[in-house]
Symmetry: C2
Subunit: 249 residues, 2 copies
């Protein structure tokens, strides 16, 4: 199984028809979905940085779509928390506040351990293999120096766990929180170069392999607390960068 195959499923199309790019609700129709997913992936891989302006005209020209559909896509991303829209000013990649950063990881520390427990009890052999491949893909991306890809895959691992638990409502919430975590990490991560812990993922995998719900819950809890404490909470400036540089250059 290749890295691409693993990355293919996850944040985006999961959840069936009518579900959003964040695993939330109500995806935009037709072409807007494509733009939505494309932008989301770019944001999650940190190719688009928090604070960047997303002009309707510019996005429309890049993706060859009219402003109508671009607006739908931007609004959808706004609903998922990745984009902030200011009236008469436009859309920007969200810049989570320090407080919001705390709250997001506290919420994850509350919700994800419970879901990990459920996943451990329900997981099948095939799913364990898939998780293993996920971790493998994380390593590959990390060794290749593709930090953005590696981080995106790390998020997908959490989503894969939540999918195994087969809880759609909590799963949708977790997807949102993970998306926002990506923005938070982009802004506040302490060591931009350091390997971001796939050790915990491996430990969780082993707990799930033995269907040890209690252990899975505890590992997930401490894993998220670790992530939380890996943040450095000081204000960061946002250096301007244009959209075209990312999608054209």
């Amino acid at each position: 199984m290749t890295s691409a195959a693993v990355a293919g499923s996850g944040l985006g199309e999961a959840g069936g028809a009518g579900r959003g790019p964040d695993g939330g609700f109500s995806l935009p129709p037709g072409r807007a979905l494509t733009i939505c997913l494309e932008l989301q992936q770019a944001i999650l891989e940190h190719r688009l940085q928090p604070g960047m302006k997303l002009s309707e005209d510019e996005v429309g020209e890049i993706f060859g779509a009219s402003r109508t559909v671009v607006r739908a896509a931007l609004h959808a991303l706004a609903h998922s928390g990745l984009v902030t829209i200011e009236r008469n000013r436009g859309a920007f990649i969200s810049r989570p506040t320090i407080r919001e950063a705390h709250e997001v990881f506290e919420a994850r520390a509350l919700i994800e351990p419970r879901v990990a427990r459920m996943a451990a009890l329900a997981v099948t052999e095939a799913q364990l293999e898939t998780l293993k491949a996920h971790i493998e893909a994380e390593h590959v991306a990390l060794d290749a120096g593709e930090m953005g890809k590696s981080l995106s895959l790390s998020g997908l691992f959490h989503i894969a766990v939540s999918d195994i638990a087969d809880q759609q409502v909590l799963g949708a919430i977790i997807r949102q929180l993970i998306s926002r975590s990506s923005l938070i990490i982009a802004l506040y991560w302490k060591r931009p170069d350091t390997a971001c812990e796939s050790h915990s993922h491996h430990a969780l995998l082993e707990a799930m392999a033995t269907h040890d719900g209690q252990a899975a819950e505890e590992i997930m809890k401490s894993h998220i607390v670790d992530l939380h404490s890996g943040l450095e909470l000081k204000e960061r400036p946002h250096h301007g960068q244009t959209l075209a540089e990312v999608f054209r250059g």
Copy 2:
């Protein structure tokens, strides 16, 4: 303090600029917000029933707006889970499945008790008075036989508690869950005429008054479990009703 004054704040405008009608994210601009809130209130008060079609033209005519803005409003409601949009078919009031009903209340049972504990520790005297007024308003609506209003106020009480905890992220999640709970209750509530328990709310208020976090957490937990067990999980038919009958008649 009047009932109207209490009902005025809550699901809708809370959260500040840029926040959605569900307490989620990114409200639609200008006029769309009005339509959004109006429809939401109608749904939450069970004046609009699950399954009902929300035609863009029809909604636009009723609110005197173009389809453009109506679409934005409907999409926003879709993102909050109150409305389901099917491609090339239109928007409908969501009909939560039985499984989704279970999951929503299980999620609430996980999240709300924690938030209730935080609220109990942070609550001020003034906030306690406001909560008291909320409960009073619930009674008034109930005695007046206004079931929809009463139920809507019951949801607002939970939101008020979450606001006291001052957790924006968990608060937004709770708002969504409560909105969806309203749909679930409309579909699956066992006793349509029975008084829907404001006793628990009073007990929670007392625990909060003494800043007893442990008690608040436990009361909230059992309260939500009670709500969950008050559901009857069998398929319900959906009787067609038109929009105009609700907003015009």
